[in-house]
Protein backbone atom coordinates (compact mmCIF):
# COMPACT_ATOMS: atom_id res chain seq x y z
CA UNK A 1 0.00 0.00 0.00
CA UNK A 2 1.36 3.41 -0.88
CA UNK A 3 1.83 5.90 1.87
CA UNK A 4 -0.54 8.82 1.87
CA UNK A 5 0.51 12.38 1.28
CA UNK A 6 -0.69 13.61 4.62
CA UNK A 7 2.09 13.30 7.10
CA UNK A 8 2.11 13.98 10.81
CA UNK A 9 0.82 17.12 12.36
CA UNK A 10 3.33 19.92 12.48
CA UNK A 11 3.08 22.02 15.56
CA UNK A 12 3.66 25.68 14.97
CA UNK A 13 5.88 25.80 17.99
CA UNK A 14 8.04 23.03 16.58
CA UNK A 15 8.34 24.13 12.99
CA UNK A 16 11.54 26.05 13.38
CA UNK A 17 13.12 23.41 15.60
CA UNK A 18 12.23 20.62 13.18
CA UNK A 19 13.57 22.56 10.23
CA UNK A 20 16.89 22.96 12.03
CA UNK A 21 16.91 19.34 13.12
CA UNK A 22 16.41 18.06 9.61
CA UNK A 23 19.12 20.18 8.09
CA UNK A 24 21.56 20.07 10.95
CA UNK A 25 25.04 19.87 9.66
CA UNK A 26 28.37 21.56 9.86
CA UNK A 27 31.31 20.99 12.12
CA UNK A 28 31.21 19.17 15.42
CA UNK A 29 28.82 16.36 14.52
CA UNK A 30 30.12 13.17 16.21
CA UNK A 31 29.89 11.04 13.07
CA UNK A 32 31.95 8.11 14.33
CA UNK A 33 29.79 7.85 17.41
CA UNK A 34 26.62 7.97 15.27
CA UNK A 35 27.99 5.18 13.05
CA UNK A 36 28.84 3.09 16.09
CA UNK A 37 25.41 3.48 17.70
CA UNK A 38 23.61 2.55 14.49
CA UNK A 39 25.97 -0.34 13.83
CA UNK A 40 25.30 -1.82 17.28
CA UNK A 41 21.73 -0.87 18.13
CA UNK A 42 19.63 -0.14 15.04
CA UNK A 43 16.79 -2.60 14.44
CA UNK A 44 18.34 -3.59 11.13
CA UNK A 45 22.12 -3.51 10.85
CA UNK A 46 22.95 -0.81 8.28
CA UNK A 47 25.27 -1.53 5.38
CA UNK A 48 28.80 -0.33 6.14
CA UNK A 49 28.81 1.62 2.87
CA UNK A 50 25.78 3.62 4.03
CA UNK A 51 27.46 4.33 7.35
CA UNK A 52 30.62 5.46 5.56
CA UNK A 53 28.53 7.78 3.36
CA UNK A 54 27.25 9.73 6.35
CA UNK A 55 28.66 13.23 6.35
CA UNK A 56 27.93 16.28 8.45
CA UNK A 57 26.71 18.46 5.57
CA UNK A 58 24.02 16.01 4.42
CA UNK A 59 23.40 14.15 7.64
CA UNK A 60 19.61 14.22 7.49
CA UNK A 61 19.58 12.66 4.02
CA UNK A 62 22.21 10.08 4.92
CA UNK A 63 20.38 9.06 8.09
CA UNK A 64 17.06 8.70 6.33
CA UNK A 65 18.65 6.46 3.71
CA UNK A 66 19.50 4.13 6.59
CA UNK A 67 16.30 4.57 8.65
CA UNK A 68 13.40 6.83 7.56
CA UNK A 69 12.64 7.65 11.21
CA UNK A 70 16.24 8.54 12.14
CA UNK A 71 16.96 12.15 13.21
CA UNK A 72 19.91 13.99 14.61
CA UNK A 73 19.31 16.82 17.10
CA UNK A 74 22.09 19.24 18.05
CA UNK A 75 22.13 19.65 21.83
CA UNK A 76 20.41 23.05 21.88
CA UNK A 77 17.51 21.90 19.70
CA UNK A 78 16.68 18.63 21.39
CA UNK A 79 13.40 18.32 23.20
CA UNK A 80 12.64 15.05 24.94
CA UNK A 81 9.35 13.46 23.86
CA UNK A 82 8.78 12.77 27.55
CA UNK A 83 8.46 16.44 28.41
CA UNK A 84 5.04 16.96 26.88
CA UNK A 85 4.12 20.10 25.06
CA UNK A 86 5.78 23.30 26.14
CA UNK A 87 3.80 26.41 26.89
CA UNK A 88 3.36 28.28 23.64
CA UNK A 89 2.61 31.86 22.87
CA UNK A 90 0.47 32.33 19.81
CA UNK A 91 -2.87 31.44 18.29
CA UNK A 92 -3.20 28.09 20.12
CA UNK A 93 -3.58 25.91 17.04
CA UNK A 94 -1.57 23.49 14.93
CA UNK A 95 -1.16 23.50 11.18
CA UNK A 96 -1.88 20.31 9.27
CA UNK A 97 -1.05 20.18 5.56
CA UNK A 98 -3.35 17.72 3.82
CA UNK A 99 -3.44 17.45 0.05
CA UNK A 100 -3.92 20.97 -1.30
CA UNK A 101 -5.40 22.23 1.95
CA UNK A 102 -3.88 23.57 5.10
CA UNK A 103 -5.94 22.92 8.19
CA UNK A 104 -5.94 24.80 11.46
CA UNK A 105 -6.42 22.47 14.42
CA UNK A 106 -7.37 24.46 17.54
CA UNK A 107 -6.33 23.42 21.03
CA UNK A 108 -9.07 23.38 23.65
CA UNK A 109 -8.87 26.56 25.70
CA UNK A 110 -6.36 28.20 23.33
CA UNK A 111 -6.66 31.61 21.68
CA UNK A 112 -8.18 30.26 18.46
CA UNK A 113 -10.78 28.26 20.40
CA UNK A 114 -11.58 31.32 22.51
CA UNK A 115 -12.11 33.30 19.30
CA UNK A 116 -14.67 30.71 18.17
CA UNK A 117 -12.68 28.08 16.29
CA UNK A 118 -13.87 24.89 18.02
CA UNK A 119 -13.10 22.35 15.31
CA UNK A 120 -10.59 22.06 12.49
CA UNK A 121 -10.99 24.43 9.56
CA UNK A 122 -9.16 25.15 6.31
CA UNK A 123 -6.98 28.22 6.49
CA UNK A 124 -7.58 30.58 3.55
CA UNK A 125 -6.26 34.04 4.43
CA UNK A 126 -4.09 35.72 7.05
CA UNK A 127 -4.74 39.41 7.72
CA UNK A 128 -6.68 39.63 4.47
CA UNK A 129 -3.98 38.05 2.33
CA UNK A 130 -4.50 34.69 0.64
CA UNK A 131 -2.10 31.97 1.75
CA UNK A 132 -1.92 30.61 -1.80
CA UNK A 133 1.70 30.46 -2.91
CA UNK A 134 3.12 30.81 0.61
CA UNK A 135 5.33 28.10 2.06
CA UNK A 136 4.38 26.39 5.31
CA UNK A 137 7.18 28.24 7.06
CA UNK A 138 5.99 31.63 5.72
CA UNK A 139 2.45 30.87 6.84
CA UNK A 140 3.66 29.87 10.30
CA UNK A 141 5.70 33.08 10.52
CA UNK A 142 2.62 35.17 9.72
CA UNK A 143 0.55 33.40 12.33
CA UNK A 144 3.19 33.76 15.03
CA UNK A 145 3.50 36.85 17.15
CA UNK A 146 3.87 38.08 20.70
CA UNK A 147 1.09 37.66 23.24
CA UNK A 148 -1.45 40.46 23.10
CA UNK A 149 -1.18 41.03 19.34
CA UNK A 150 -3.95 40.10 16.93
CA UNK A 151 -4.24 38.27 13.65
CA UNK A 152 -7.28 37.95 11.41
CA UNK A 153 -7.66 34.57 9.74
CA UNK A 154 -10.05 33.68 6.98
CA UNK A 155 -11.21 30.09 7.41
CA UNK A 156 -13.54 27.60 5.81
CA UNK A 157 -15.00 24.91 8.02
CA UNK A 158 -15.35 21.28 6.98
CA UNK A 159 -18.89 21.91 5.72
CA UNK A 160 -17.63 24.75 3.48
CA UNK A 161 -18.84 27.73 5.54
CA UNK A 162 -16.42 30.66 5.25
CA UNK A 163 -15.81 33.26 7.96
CA UNK A 164 -13.18 35.54 9.41
CA UNK A 165 -11.89 35.33 12.96
CA UNK A 166 -9.86 37.82 14.94
CA UNK A 167 -7.53 35.91 17.24
CA UNK A 168 -5.63 37.59 20.05
CA UNK A 169 -2.41 35.68 20.57
CA UNK A 170 -1.60 34.63 24.10
CA UNK A 171 0.54 32.34 26.16
CA UNK A 172 -1.01 28.93 26.57
CA UNK A 173 -0.19 25.36 27.55
CA UNK A 174 -2.43 22.71 26.00
CA UNK A 175 -4.22 20.12 28.07
CA UNK A 176 -2.61 16.68 27.92
CA UNK A 177 -6.00 15.23 27.06
CA UNK A 178 -8.58 17.60 25.60
CA UNK A 179 -12.32 17.32 26.10
CA UNK A 180 -14.32 18.66 23.19
CA UNK A 181 -18.05 18.62 22.63
CA UNK A 182 -19.17 19.04 19.03
CA UNK A 183 -22.72 17.88 19.87
CA UNK A 184 -24.41 15.79 22.52
CA UNK A 185 -21.32 13.67 23.19
CA UNK A 186 -18.05 14.67 24.69
CA UNK A 187 -14.88 13.49 23.03
CA UNK A 188 -11.45 12.92 24.51
CA UNK A 189 -8.68 14.04 22.21
CA UNK A 190 -5.11 12.78 22.52
CA UNK A 191 -2.43 14.28 20.28
CA UNK A 192 0.65 12.62 21.74
CA UNK A 193 1.61 10.01 24.30
CA UNK A 194 3.92 11.34 26.99
CA UNK A 195 5.52 8.89 29.42
CA UNK A 196 3.82 9.02 32.81
CA UNK A 197 1.49 11.90 31.91
CA UNK A 198 -1.03 10.93 29.23
CA UNK A 199 -2.53 7.91 31.00
CA UNK A 200 -3.32 9.77 34.25
CA UNK A 201 -4.65 12.72 32.25
CA UNK A 202 -6.96 10.35 30.37
CA UNK A 203 -8.19 8.78 33.59
CA UNK A 204 -8.78 12.22 35.11
CA UNK A 205 -10.75 13.25 32.04
CA UNK A 206 -12.95 10.14 32.14
CA UNK A 207 -13.64 10.86 35.84
CA UNK A 208 -14.33 14.49 34.97
CA UNK A 209 -16.98 13.43 32.44
CA UNK A 210 -18.60 11.16 35.02
CA UNK A 211 -18.56 13.84 37.71
CA UNK A 212 -19.93 16.55 35.46
CA UNK A 213 -22.33 14.20 33.64
CA UNK A 214 -24.45 16.62 31.59
CA UNK A 215 -26.73 13.78 30.55
CA UNK A 216 -23.95 11.35 29.76
CA UNK A 217 -24.42 7.96 31.43
CA UNK A 218 -21.84 5.36 32.39
CA UNK A 219 -23.02 3.21 29.49
CA UNK A 220 -22.33 5.92 26.92
CA UNK A 221 -19.25 5.15 24.88
CA UNK A 222 -15.92 6.79 25.49
CA UNK A 223 -14.94 8.40 22.19
CA UNK A 224 -11.21 8.84 21.82
CA UNK A 225 -10.10 11.11 18.99
CA UNK A 226 -6.74 9.92 17.67
CA UNK A 227 -7.01 11.59 14.25
CA UNK A 228 -4.13 13.94 15.05
CA UNK A 229 -2.17 11.68 17.40
CA UNK A 230 1.24 11.33 15.80
CA UNK A 231 2.74 9.04 18.40
CA UNK A 232 5.03 9.49 21.37
CA UNK A 233 5.98 7.08 24.10
CA UNK A 234 5.12 3.50 23.12
CA UNK A 235 4.83 2.26 26.70
CA UNK A 236 2.42 5.04 27.60
CA UNK A 237 0.20 3.89 24.71
CA UNK A 238 0.48 0.29 25.95
CA UNK A 239 -0.45 1.44 29.47
CA UNK A 240 -3.52 3.16 28.04
CA UNK A 241 -4.50 0.03 26.10
CA UNK A 242 -4.23 -1.90 29.39
CA UNK A 243 -6.85 0.37 30.95
CA UNK A 244 -9.44 -1.19 28.65
CA UNK A 245 -8.29 -4.80 28.81
CA UNK A 246 -8.27 -7.52 31.47
CA UNK A 247 -5.12 -8.37 33.37
CA UNK A 248 -2.80 -10.60 31.35
CA UNK A 249 -4.20 -9.65 27.93
CA UNK A 250 -1.45 -9.54 25.34
CA UNK A 251 -0.65 -5.99 24.31
CA UNK A 252 2.25 -6.31 21.90
CA UNK A 253 5.40 -8.15 21.05
CA UNK A 254 8.54 -6.08 20.68
CA UNK A 255 11.21 -7.40 18.33
CA UNK A 256 14.76 -6.08 18.58
CA UNK A 257 17.95 -6.77 16.61
CA UNK A 258 18.67 -10.43 16.09
CA UNK A 259 15.10 -11.63 16.52
CA UNK A 260 15.07 -10.99 20.27
CA UNK A 261 11.41 -10.63 21.24
CA UNK A 262 9.54 -9.61 24.34
CA UNK A 263 5.80 -9.91 24.86
CA UNK A 264 4.07 -7.24 26.91
CA UNK A 265 0.89 -8.06 28.81
CA UNK A 266 -1.66 -5.90 30.60
CA UNK A 267 -0.86 -5.48 34.28
CA UNK A 268 -3.52 -5.48 37.00
CA UNK A 269 -5.09 -2.13 37.65
CA UNK A 270 -7.88 0.15 36.60
CA UNK A 271 -10.38 -1.29 34.14
CA UNK A 272 -12.56 1.03 32.11
CA UNK A 273 -15.61 -0.89 30.99
CA UNK A 274 -17.51 1.60 28.88
CA UNK A 275 -17.91 0.91 25.16
CA UNK A 276 -15.04 2.50 23.27
CA UNK A 277 -14.83 4.23 19.91
CA UNK A 278 -11.53 5.35 18.40
CA UNK A 279 -11.52 8.01 15.70
CA UNK A 280 -8.55 7.37 13.40
CA UNK A 281 -7.19 8.73 10.16
CA UNK A 282 -4.06 9.17 8.05
CA UNK A 283 -2.61 11.43 10.76
CA UNK A 284 -2.86 8.65 13.38
CA UNK A 285 0.67 7.30 13.62
CA UNK A 286 3.08 5.15 15.58
CA UNK A 287 2.11 4.70 19.25
CA UNK A 288 -1.42 5.91 18.45
CA UNK A 289 -2.04 3.36 15.70
CA UNK A 290 -0.47 0.63 17.82
CA UNK A 291 -3.01 1.48 20.55
CA UNK A 292 -5.81 1.31 17.96
CA UNK A 293 -4.51 -2.00 16.61
CA UNK A 294 -4.30 -3.62 20.06
CA UNK A 295 -7.83 -2.62 21.04
CA UNK A 296 -9.17 -3.70 17.64
CA UNK A 297 -7.46 -7.11 17.91
CA UNK A 298 -9.11 -7.69 21.28
CA UNK A 299 -12.49 -6.56 19.93
CA UNK A 300 -12.49 -3.87 22.62
CA UNK A 301 -12.90 -0.80 20.43
CA UNK A 302 -14.71 0.14 17.27
CA UNK A 303 -12.42 2.03 14.88
CA UNK A 304 -14.07 4.75 12.81
CA UNK A 305 -12.40 6.92 10.18
CA UNK A 306 -9.71 6.11 7.65
CA UNK A 307 -6.63 3.87 7.49
CA UNK A 308 -3.81 5.06 9.74
CA UNK A 309 -0.32 6.20 8.75
CA UNK A 310 1.44 2.83 9.00
CA UNK A 311 4.41 2.94 11.35
CA UNK A 312 4.53 0.14 13.88
CA UNK A 313 8.14 0.60 14.91
CA UNK A 314 9.53 2.33 17.94
CA UNK A 315 12.45 4.67 18.17
CA UNK A 316 14.88 5.42 20.93
CA UNK A 317 16.84 8.59 21.66
CA UNK A 318 20.52 8.12 22.46
CA UNK A 319 22.46 11.00 23.99
CA UNK A 320 25.87 11.37 22.31
CA UNK A 321 29.06 12.48 24.03
CA UNK A 322 28.68 16.15 22.97
CA UNK A 323 25.10 16.32 24.30
CA UNK A 324 23.47 16.00 20.89
CA UNK A 325 20.91 13.24 20.38
CA UNK A 326 20.43 10.52 17.79
CA UNK A 327 16.95 9.10 17.31
CA UNK A 328 16.64 5.83 15.43
CA UNK A 329 14.41 2.77 15.11
CA UNK A 330 15.36 -0.01 17.50
CA UNK A 331 12.23 -2.15 17.79
CA UNK A 332 9.46 -3.48 15.59
CA UNK A 333 6.08 -3.80 17.25
CA UNK A 334 3.76 -6.70 16.50
CA UNK A 335 0.11 -6.48 17.47
CA UNK A 336 -1.65 -9.30 19.39
CA UNK A 337 -2.78 -10.74 16.04
CA UNK A 338 0.87 -10.92 14.97
CA UNK A 339 0.33 -8.14 12.45
CA UNK A 340 3.02 -5.51 11.88
CA UNK A 341 1.36 -2.36 10.58
CA UNK A 342 4.38 -0.55 9.10
CA UNK A 343 3.70 0.48 5.53
CA UNK A 344 0.14 -0.82 5.80
CA UNK A 345 -1.63 1.04 8.59
CA UNK A 346 -4.64 -0.01 10.61
CA UNK A 347 -7.90 -0.09 8.69
CA UNK A 348 -11.06 1.21 10.38
CA UNK A 349 -14.10 -0.97 11.10
CA UNK A 350 -16.23 1.80 9.67
CA UNK A 351 -14.66 3.83 6.88
CA UNK A 352 -15.84 7.39 6.23
CA UNK A 353 -15.04 9.85 3.46
CA UNK A 354 -12.57 12.66 4.02
CA UNK A 355 -15.26 15.34 4.39
CA UNK A 356 -16.82 13.36 7.25
CA UNK A 357 -13.44 12.61 8.82
CA UNK A 358 -12.73 16.34 9.00
CA UNK A 359 -16.09 17.26 10.52
CA UNK A 360 -16.67 16.06 14.08
CA UNK A 361 -20.32 17.05 13.99
CA UNK A 362 -20.85 14.48 11.21
CA UNK A 363 -18.24 11.96 12.28
CA UNK A 364 -19.44 11.46 15.86
CA UNK A 365 -23.06 10.49 14.99
CA UNK A 366 -21.64 7.97 12.48
CA UNK A 367 -19.33 6.63 15.17
CA UNK A 368 -22.16 6.32 17.73
CA UNK A 369 -24.21 4.54 15.07
CA UNK A 370 -21.30 2.12 14.56
CA UNK A 371 -21.47 1.03 18.20
CA UNK A 372 -25.16 0.19 17.86
CA UNK A 373 -24.55 -1.73 14.62
CA UNK A 374 -22.24 -4.20 16.40
Amino acid sequence: MTRRRTRGVRTLAFLTACAFALTAGGAGVPLDEIRQVLREQALTAPAESRLRDLDAANLAIGLQAIDPAARYFPRALYRSPNQGRDAMSGIGAELLPSGDDLWLLPFQGGAAATAGLTDRARLRTIDGRSIAGLSLDEIAQRLRGPAGTRVVVGIEDAAGGARRLTIERRSFRPLDVELVQPGAHRILRVREFVAGLTRPALLATVDFIENTGAGQSEQDPIILDLRDATGGDLFEALDIAALFLPEGAQLATLAARGGVTKTIRAPAGTDLEQPLILLIGPGTASAAEILAGILRDHGRARLVGQTTYGKCDSQTDVRLSDGSVLRFTNRAVRLPSGEHCSGVGIAPDLAVDTATLNDLSRLVPRAIGAIHER
Binding site: N82, G84, G109, F172, L175, A195, T205, D207, F208
Partner: protein, 181 residues
Amino acid sequence: MKSPIAWSIVLFALWLSGCASVSTDPREGGLAGGIKGLSTGAYDARIQEREDRLAVLRQVQGELETERADLEYTKAQRKQKVAAERARVRRMNRDIAALNQRVDSLSVSANRNDQRVRTLRTRVPQIQSQSARLQSDLDALEGSGLGDTEADLKRAQLEQQRASLQSEYDLLNQMSLDLAR
Protein backbone atom coordinates in the same frame (compact mmCIF):
# COMPACT_ATOMS: atom_id res chain seq x y z
CA MET B 1 -68.59 83.37 13.48
CA LYS B 2 -69.81 80.71 15.95
CA SER B 3 -70.96 81.69 19.42
CA PRO B 4 -68.60 81.48 22.47
CA ILE B 5 -70.90 78.82 23.99
CA ALA B 6 -70.32 76.52 21.00
CA TRP B 7 -66.54 76.98 21.32
CA SER B 8 -66.70 76.18 25.05
CA ILE B 9 -68.61 72.92 24.37
CA VAL B 10 -65.98 71.85 21.81
CA LEU B 11 -63.04 72.63 24.17
CA PHE B 12 -64.71 70.81 27.13
CA ALA B 13 -65.26 67.75 24.94
CA LEU B 14 -61.60 67.76 23.87
CA TRP B 15 -60.46 68.10 27.53
CA LEU B 16 -62.65 65.17 28.62
CA SER B 17 -61.34 62.97 25.82
CA GLY B 18 -57.77 63.75 26.94
CA CYS B 19 -58.59 62.48 30.40
CA ALA B 20 -60.45 59.37 29.25
CA SER B 21 -57.60 56.91 29.05
CA VAL B 22 -57.84 53.13 29.75
CA SER B 23 -54.97 53.27 32.25
CA THR B 24 -55.88 53.16 35.93
CA ASP B 25 -52.50 54.53 36.93
CA PRO B 26 -53.12 58.02 38.36
CA ARG B 27 -49.84 59.24 36.84
CA GLU B 28 -50.99 58.24 33.35
CA GLY B 29 -54.70 57.72 33.27
CA GLY B 30 -55.91 61.30 33.30
CA LEU B 31 -58.81 62.48 35.34
CA ALA B 32 -61.44 60.09 34.02
CA GLY B 33 -59.19 57.01 34.28
CA GLY B 34 -58.04 58.06 37.73
CA ILE B 35 -61.61 58.50 39.00
CA LYS B 36 -62.58 55.20 37.43
CA GLY B 37 -59.51 53.44 38.96
CA LEU B 38 -60.16 54.74 42.45
CA SER B 39 -63.82 53.91 42.37
CA THR B 40 -63.49 50.35 41.01
CA GLY B 41 -60.46 49.22 43.12
CA ALA B 42 -58.28 48.81 40.03
CA TYR B 43 -55.77 51.24 41.54
CA ASP B 44 -55.38 48.99 44.62
CA ALA B 45 -54.85 46.06 42.27
CA ARG B 46 -52.18 48.04 40.51
CA ILE B 47 -50.39 48.77 43.77
CA GLN B 48 -50.61 45.11 44.69
CA GLU B 49 -49.18 44.18 41.31
CA ARG B 50 -46.24 46.55 41.86
CA GLU B 51 -45.64 45.11 45.32
CA ASP B 52 -45.74 41.59 43.93
CA ARG B 53 -43.27 42.54 41.23
CA LEU B 54 -41.01 44.12 43.84
CA ALA B 55 -41.17 40.95 45.91
CA VAL B 56 -40.17 38.89 42.87
CA LEU B 57 -37.28 41.26 42.16
CA ARG B 58 -36.16 40.98 45.78
CA GLN B 59 -36.31 37.19 45.52
CA VAL B 60 -34.27 37.21 42.29
CA GLN B 61 -31.79 39.56 43.92
CA GLY B 62 -31.53 37.17 46.88
CA GLU B 63 -30.97 34.21 44.56
CA LEU B 64 -28.29 36.12 42.66
CA GLU B 65 -26.66 36.99 45.94
CA THR B 66 -26.68 33.31 46.97
CA GLU B 67 -25.30 32.34 43.57
CA ARG B 68 -22.56 34.96 43.88
CA ALA B 69 -21.70 33.64 47.33
CA ASP B 70 -21.64 30.08 45.95
CA LEU B 71 -19.33 31.16 43.14
CA GLU B 72 -17.07 32.93 45.62
CA TYR B 73 -17.05 29.81 47.75
CA THR B 74 -16.29 27.59 44.72
CA LYS B 75 -13.53 29.97 43.68
CA ALA B 76 -12.06 29.97 47.18
CA GLN B 77 -12.28 26.16 47.25
CA ARG B 78 -10.53 25.95 43.88
CA LYS B 79 -7.78 28.23 45.14
CA GLN B 80 -7.45 26.12 48.25
CA LYS B 81 -7.23 22.90 46.21
CA VAL B 82 -4.63 24.39 43.89
CA ALA B 83 -2.62 25.64 46.88
CA ALA B 84 -2.76 22.19 48.50
CA GLU B 85 -1.74 20.53 45.26
CA ARG B 86 1.14 22.97 44.82
CA ALA B 87 2.37 22.08 48.31
CA ARG B 88 2.19 18.37 47.46
CA VAL B 89 4.12 18.87 44.21
CA ARG B 90 6.76 21.00 45.99
CA ARG B 91 7.23 18.21 48.51
CA MET B 92 7.48 15.64 45.72
CA ASN B 93 10.03 17.83 43.90
CA ARG B 94 12.22 17.87 47.00
CA ASP B 95 11.91 14.09 47.39
CA ILE B 96 12.79 13.45 43.75
CA ALA B 97 15.79 15.80 43.94
CA ALA B 98 17.06 13.84 46.96
CA LEU B 99 16.48 10.56 45.09
CA ASN B 100 18.38 11.91 42.11
CA GLN B 101 21.41 12.62 44.34
CA ARG B 102 21.18 9.14 45.80
CA VAL B 103 21.09 7.66 42.29
CA ASP B 104 24.23 9.62 41.41
CA SER B 105 26.09 8.10 44.34
CA LEU B 106 24.64 4.64 43.59
CA SER B 107 26.02 4.88 40.09
CA VAL B 108 29.47 4.95 41.68
CA SER B 109 28.97 2.25 44.30
CA ALA B 110 26.64 -0.21 42.51
CA ASN B 111 27.17 -2.08 39.29
CA ARG B 112 26.48 0.39 36.50
CA ASN B 113 25.23 -2.41 34.28
CA ASP B 114 22.60 -3.46 36.78
CA GLN B 115 19.24 -3.03 35.02
CA ARG B 116 17.84 -1.30 38.12
CA VAL B 117 20.64 1.29 38.11
CA ARG B 118 20.01 1.97 34.43
CA THR B 119 16.27 2.34 35.07
CA LEU B 120 16.93 4.76 37.91
CA ARG B 121 19.43 6.77 35.86
CA THR B 122 16.96 7.08 33.01
CA ARG B 123 13.67 7.54 34.75
CA VAL B 124 14.52 9.64 37.81
CA PRO B 125 15.67 12.70 35.78
CA GLN B 126 12.54 12.27 33.63
CA ILE B 127 10.13 12.30 36.54
CA GLN B 128 12.12 15.20 38.00
CA SER B 129 11.51 17.28 34.88
CA GLN B 130 7.88 16.17 34.68
CA SER B 131 7.33 17.09 38.30
CA ALA B 132 8.87 20.50 37.63
CA ARG B 133 6.45 20.88 34.74
CA LEU B 134 3.50 20.07 37.00
CA GLN B 135 4.75 22.72 39.40
CA SER B 136 4.90 25.37 36.68
CA ASP B 137 1.49 24.32 35.32
CA LEU B 138 -0.04 24.68 38.77
CA ASP B 139 1.67 28.03 39.27
CA ALA B 140 0.25 29.19 35.95
CA LEU B 141 -3.26 27.85 36.52
CA GLU B 142 -4.50 31.03 38.19
CA GLY B 143 -4.81 33.70 35.55
CA SER B 144 -4.13 31.23 32.73
CA GLY B 145 -7.01 32.64 30.74
CA LEU B 146 -8.64 29.21 30.67
CA GLY B 147 -12.39 29.10 31.17
CA ASP B 148 -13.75 27.56 34.39
CA THR B 149 -14.41 24.16 32.77
CA GLU B 150 -10.95 23.96 31.19
CA ALA B 151 -9.29 25.14 34.41
CA ASP B 152 -11.19 22.51 36.43
CA LEU B 153 -10.25 19.82 33.92
CA LYS B 154 -6.64 20.95 33.91
CA ARG B 155 -6.52 20.84 37.70
CA ALA B 156 -8.07 17.35 37.73
CA GLN B 157 -5.47 16.15 35.22
CA LEU B 158 -2.61 17.70 37.18
CA GLU B 159 -3.80 16.03 40.40
CA GLN B 160 -3.99 12.62 38.73
CA GLN B 161 -0.59 13.11 37.08
CA ARG B 162 0.94 14.10 40.40
CA ALA B 163 -0.53 10.99 42.04
CA SER B 164 0.84 8.86 39.20
CA LEU B 165 4.32 10.41 39.43
CA GLN B 166 4.20 9.99 43.21
CA SER B 167 3.55 6.23 42.75
CA GLU B 168 6.43 5.97 40.33
CA TYR B 169 8.67 7.92 42.68
CA ASP B 170 7.76 5.50 45.51
CA LEU B 171 8.72 2.51 43.34
CA LEU B 172 11.99 4.08 42.19
CA ASN B 173 12.79 5.16 45.73
CA GLN B 174 12.23 1.61 46.98
CA MET B 175 14.44 0.30 44.18
CA SER B 176 17.22 2.70 45.15
CA LEU B 177 16.95 1.68 48.81
CA ASP B 178 17.14 -2.01 47.85
CA LEU B 179 20.24 -1.30 45.80
CA ALA B 180 21.86 0.67 48.60
CA ARG B 181 21.51 -2.25 51.05
